[in-house]
Assembly symmetry: C3
Homo-oligomer: 679 residues x 3
């Protein structure tokens, strides 16, 4: 598949059908309860289920004795109704007989607590013996199901790093040391990279090096910390790769995915071993009121940035909860609205979690499509509506991609770097959130783009405080600007090198030339003492920090105000936002962070919008995206508000949901959805 010429975030699916269904756990139910499932699923439009991710104990009740009968039978019964199966490697929950006596396989928390059998994800994915077991069960499943025509793809493990990522077990320590040896070759090189002269941390050999602790007794070395975060992701990829190789060898037609997304995993790298990524989307965790809907958009965009096309192996069904919490119950239409929200950002498959609510175990309050009593009610009706719609229009969605004109850059390494040294300041993720929210409010064709991806097609690119900078990225950004793009960088960008050391140059270091500016002083503001004074406009709130800029070729777009208390402040009257014209484009530097309070006014201030064409005109609670193929465009119009909303300046076309013609305007009820096809 030669897709290398197009940006990864624009990749399209090669799935033969738009997937619709649910995770399914036949092992939780007796024959009587299960018997109507295939028919009910088929009636609702289901064409796929996901199975077996927690069924190792059933499939291998004793070492080497495999029993796939339940799944064989279930796959066959579903297959006979046109429903395919995605299987999972069951390695998040090894059986008790396997781990008994293997305390050393258990993850070790930073506070020394060793995990235990009794929930999930307790085994360390770095441990070589556990990896061997993971590959043994994967191999057994792969061989068994290789010939089954209804098995179309696989999910590796389940939500890796969902509960616990950091691990201090002996295998992780050894693995980290080996990785460091490979990376640095000599301990002297490592000492230089980490700056171990500070606090006399110099190492004589790799065996002295441990996994950093955040408080033993105080702050760890940031170079060591960042390397450990990198290693966590690398080791996880190795674990997954061991399974992927076996699956690919067993049956080349299978595609392979995984259901993320969690911290400390570099999904750009992780996805290289997969056909496409999966992302589990539970909007109720963060969307506690309509205006917070972009949280779920960002989950989807994060998958798209890493993978282009992706699926949602778990899209929220009903209310969800675990031991300590219970999320607010979705209202009529919200489950379906959120599913379309995922599709609007690029999902090519939706599996609503879960088919039937489990009657025992830790998730008795994760409400599925059916309830504990197996009676279809309003969620089944809503699910069926979705299923029917997607049966009708799924084919038009498949093969389309989003094309962002404006984007926010993402990078796992930048998030990690912030996490090593947060200083109580907003993270790149936090700025990403508010910047992207503002783009959605403006109905821009916008998205997230990974720093490793191609920038082709982008007009306006925001880098939210990427502290780490290297020559490769700097050159890509320069090229982007020279060719006509507008680049916006916020405070602290390019202040450290890849070793997480502060650069010796005046910031923004490798970008100082492109941005035509240097930072004379960086400072923290705890009180709203300063604002950015916009010529002729209202004051723009500061985002936690100020930077005093020295234009070196750039022009000043806005400056810092006098201090509110009338007493001298170092930043008063100094430049705060600058613009440098380079080649055909513009490079803008903003000497503060993007925040919820300042995003709107800052965007108003910044030029370069003319390269970005809004998709429609609507209230900020209406989300509009566009997926397109060569021959048609689909405008997804989603009303997240609790009141009716009218959307204008859409293209003429047909609303695929209602079947009505759209002449540029649609009116949606609360939680309503339209998909306007423009040909």
């Amino acid at each position: 598949m030669d897709e290398t010429h197009i940006p990864r975030h624009q990749r399209i699916s090669r799935l033969p059908k738009f997937l619709f269904g649910a995770p399914y756990y036949p092992e939780h139910w007796d024959e009587e309860t299960r018997k109507d499932d295939p028919e009910r699923m088929a009636a609702a439009g289901v064409n796929v289920v996901r199975m077996a991710e927690f069924a190792w104990d059933l499939m291998e009740p004793r070492r080497g004795e495999f029993d796939f009968a339940l799944f064989d039978e279930t796959i066959a019964r579903l297959g006979s109704r046109g429903i395919d199966t995605i299987l999972c490697t069951p390695t998040a929950t090894p059986p008790a007989w396997l781990t008994a006596g293997h305390q050393d396989w258990m993850r070790v928390h930073a506070d020394d607590r060793r995990m235990a059998h009794g929930s999930r994800q307790h085994c360390c994915t770095t441990n070589p013996e556990f990896r061997a077991e993971s590959e043994r069960i994967t191999d057994a499943m792969a061989r068994h199901f290789a010939g089954n025509p209804h098995v179309i793809g696989w999910q590796t493990d389940n939500e890796l790093f969902c509960h616990i990522a950091e691990c201090h077990c002996a295998a992780c320590t050894a693995g980290f040391r080996n990785w460091l040896k490979d990376k640095y070759q000599t301990v002297g090189e490592l000492n230089r990279a980490w700056g171990t002269q500070f606090w006399a941390q110099t190492y004589d050999n790799f065996e002295q090096i441990g996994i950093p602790y955040e408080e033993r007794p105080t702050y760890p070395n940031p170079g060591q910390h960042l390397d450990y975060m990198r290693y966590m992701s690398v080791a996880l990829c190795e674990f997954q790769r061991g399974q992927v190789k076996i699956l690919r060898a067993a049956q080349p037609r299978w595609w392979i995915t995984h259901n993320g997304l969690f911290s400390y995993v570099d999904y750009w790298e992780f996805a290289k071993d997969l056909d496409f990524l999966g992302v589990d989307v539970y909007p109720a965790f963060s969307v506690t009121e309509p205006r917070k809907y972009p949280s779920a958009s960002l989950s989807n965009e994060t998958a798209r940035a890493a993978s282009g096309t992706y699926i949602v192996p778990e899209q929220q069904g009903g209310s969800g909860g675990q031991r300590p919490y219970l999320l607010e119950t979705p209202r009529p239409g919200q489950m379906r609205l959120w599913a379309y929200q995922s599709i609007a950002h690029g999902a090519d498959g939706i599996l609503h979690f879960r088919w039937r609510t489990c009657r025992y175990g830790a998730e008795i309050c994760w409400y599925g499509i059916l309830e504990h009593d197996n009676v279809p009610r309003r969620r089944y009706a809503e699910f069926s509506q979705e299923g029917a719609e997607l049966q009708r229009i799924g084919g038009k969605i498949l093969g389309t991609a989003l094309q962002a004109q404006a984007a926010v850059l993402v990078s796992c390494e930048q998030d990690d770097a912030h996490a090593t040294m947060p200083f109580g300041l907003p993270s790149p993720g936090w700025q990403r959130h508010f910047a992207y929210t503002e783009m959605l409010a403006r109905h821009w064709p916008a998205g997230l783009v990974d720093a490793s991806d191609s920038f082709d097609g982008l007009q306006w690119l925001l880098i939210p405080s990427f502290v780490l900078m290297d020559e490769g990225l700097a050159a890509k950004l320069r090229k982007f600007v020279e060719e006509g793009g507008t680049l916006v960088a916020t405070a602290r960008t390019a202040t450290r090198d890849k070793n997480n050391q502060v650069i010796a140059q005046t910031p923004p270091g490798l970008l100082a030339g492109l941005l035509g500016v240097t930072v004379e002083e960086f400072g923290k503001l705890d009180k709203p003492l300063l604002t950015i004074e916009r010529p002729g406009g209202e004051a723009i709130p500061v985002g936690a920090v100020y930077e005093i800029l020295r234009p070196r070729g750039a022009e000043t777009l806005a400056g810092w105000s006098a201090a509110a208390d009338g007493c001298p402040h170092a930043a008063s009257g100094e430049p705060a936002v600058t613009l440098n014209r380079v080649g055909k484009g513009m490079a803008i530097y903003v000497g503060t962070y993007i925040s919820e309070e300042n995003a709107h006014a800052l965007f108003d201030l910044l030029p370069g919008h003319d390269g970005v064409t809004p998709l429609a005109k609507a209230d900020s609670l209406v989300e509009v995206t566009c997926r397109h193929a060569e021959d048609h465009k689909l405008y997804f119009v989603l009303n997240h508000g609790t009141g009716e909303a009218t959307v204008r300046e859409l293209p003429a076309g047909i609303d695929l949901i209602s079947g009505s013609a759209c002449s540029g305007s649609v009116t949606l009820p609360p939680f309503g959805v339209a998909i306007v096809e423009q040909k």
Copy 2:
């Protein structure tokens, strides 16, 4: 004693005198300081002290060398003034020489920290070696004091589970496994009960099973968790039973009690080994303002529900505090008011903690009747007033019992079940609190009744979200209604079976027939989006959750409102409260929780009050209860308010406190008390 025919909560005391006194620690004081104690006690009306619960080191300074001289002498001196002694087994604080070298006897916290000598309750009451030591010292004391005429009874240990209940030591793990073997016989049965198919937790043998952790790394199995909670209580009962058997064998005339009440102990079972329960009552922990007075009433009612008659081995004296806190100092009259509050709910003995404030150790700020300097001041005066009053009227109190017409059902198992899966929702205890508070505000003859007790005599019974239900309780409840009772069940009642699994039937499962209703949808509400619309009345606030009801024979008493934001909500207009007439009674289902905000309006909505006759008419800060024997009734009237209060519609009689005649009305000063005897 054949009391089996009357409900346990109505049992009366067989004590020969109403007990009044204090815990007393002669081992903390020199001879000079102690010398006036017997006289001062006698002058204050003391007829009993409690001793020796922390004096193991004194009584057995070296293994096998016993020295009871101080207690022999003290008991004799007190006895000569008419003051009896309650002795305690000293097993909360084993001596250093005993536990040195026995690290494995120490309790282990869920975070792996092993307890240590230096405070109290550090030894695990499950450990067989420590149990043997506990029985050895009990036996030595029992033999020594068996012939002492002034020793009238015993308290086992001290406040078991006050500081720490859960324990992860090897003995607890082994004990839990053995208990599981007894309960389930086969591991297959255990697997079914716990639903171990979920997350592949299936066990092959009992040796693989551990005590669940709440976070290693994530949520435990709720069946395992509930069984562990049950086991904690069972093991504690075993520990106590070992002592009780020895004491009973040594001297049959001794009665035996214990001072609770703490979480995870099923006092209904625990009390079976005792003659009656004790409850330590420290109102200042929760009664931080007058309107919170029912907290202390509930402590007492919890003891009464488990035991009928009970005593208060520790009733708050002065201000109390430990290392991290100091409670607000009681005002003049409050110490006495709170003592009468205990008596009003059934206590047949009051010992004010403690005789004299200790000058060293962890409790230097638990203020007793006398202060560190041994000078009698206002607390001694107030104590003496109480003593004099109780000398006069104690005989009339003994032999009386309360008779609740309205009750809230309690069950340790239901509290435990909630604790396994709280979901951030109000507990049965929380609802109990607000429902009982509302009953007190209405001056109902009301109380708590254990689910295992007889419901004879009750007219109106509230079950606060008893998630667990079995056929036995369901049958009892049906009988209660059929015979004319009014039953009120709140949301989530009868949704799980005794294994803590969600039932396969539509809720309320085993009660659906009785209540004439099923729950169509359960949901969580984070915002006050809905209310219960009461026909012709004000809206009733929702208590965290909503349930959409489907009457199946019941009539609808009230329905859910339209959503406050005007956008469709699943519950809008659906039934919220239903009433089913069954036999001579009524079964009411409330599709939400009782909360502080909605209790009053909900009670107004619910029928069946006509079976409940208020005891008086008064402000809600006045508490009124009635204790009665065949030949007389005692109306306890307690003014918890800081202003004067007039109480009306009392029976005519004599106020035993003031000696004045009462013709139906009394006026009380702040913190004032009246006891109106009606013959």
Copy 3:
């Protein structure tokens, strides 16, 4: 040096020059970056740097192989520009090769976590093997630098107990037991002192005794706890003493200091091994708004109370931050203002932390005089201004001392005693803070004085709730009053003995005669129910507790109000503040705590101010102190406010900063400083 006749807090420096400079880390920088440092330092007026406190790995890269070349060269280069060097023992950060394999050297947290190589202060300073290593490197450095004329003094280690003080390692446990044996000789004596009869804690031998835990499972013995706190300080002094002896032996002309101040160190004792103390002053940690400026004054006064003259080895430069936080950036003038604030309280040397901001390691956001890019900017300019000023006036400052007329008494043991049993009540430190702040607001010549110091020269002395009292201190206080001083003691003073046991006498025990009062009742108030009624004045807010006083010779200055809710309160109308005239002086007892809310009104109420002459008249945001020698006085006038401030009633003289004559009044800009010399 016979300074024994003057109070320690009035001691003057014997340094030959006022020190000005910065901590300097040549080991962090390459030759190119370092090359301009000597010249830039000299240009800024630097005359001293501090070096090597974290450079053990560099100085001894392998056991026994020492390499001091970098420091030899740097000291020489700086020396040639007139810049001297303070060296440090590098024992806060032992090299990895040294501690590898010595897990038992690592400190153990109260939660059992063992510290690790990777940050600093991970090794236990009690461990005898680590102490031997500490003395070995100290000896090697001392021998090497003994003949270097530019090395003028030493700092031991670095900020001992900054991150972690308590330690549960085997060496600490053994050391604690040995110290107890020395102190008590017999275990019986220890049992009596600790009151081990409480909770049966009696020990049979010292080997049974451990370091107390705050929660295993509940509250520790307060006698044991206080002794352990004492031991922590003793053991730390021993560790330091081992280094000091070696340094003194190697070169008698060296002076030795250390940079504190942290909890659990008795600096009065600790300083006995030093020539003078150092205190690290970072005002931005607490001075988040101008009115909080006294926090930094208190840091300085704490050093002065323990040491008289002292230096500031680390005075805040730029903004500071570590992993979890970043302090607000100082505004123009604040860095210099804060430096003068230290000098105003007695500092005879200021080293701004740090010369150049480090580019790696945990402190990349502790901003020094120069930034990461080595470019001098506003901090260098402000630093140079300070340097030039101090070159000019430093000679006049050296040799002066402060003379407090009013003081607040401090004592590590009292702080410790509170920490053993805080009861959620304000600490002596908290009261110290608000009382001293009030003294500064009144522009009194005031300070802190250690309880072990002489009280000569004091007129007005406040004891903030010194719970511990012994006959020695009681006698000193009586003498102070008899000779004409005014003594003010607040609630709970003199309620315990030195074993942390509550006294048998009525409080204030040993001070009852002097104060002419006893405490009838102590109580806690959670709500503002009472106030202190000042005759003819406004009500004074209560500070958390009330005490009902019984004058025994004293007169009543103010009484408790009636309760705000109209209901009887034990304290209503009772005496709250009393005054006893003894000899030529007055002894005042205040039956509550000093708080932020009541300090001003309480001070207005209390007599004895006439012995205290304010230094000037000014707004409360202006700080005024006076340092004087026999022949001149220096009035330090510091404007902490953000507006201009005029100060009146100063003496006539010359403002050494501006060179202008002052005729009793100066006007200062925001953050402005004047030093008025009166001859």
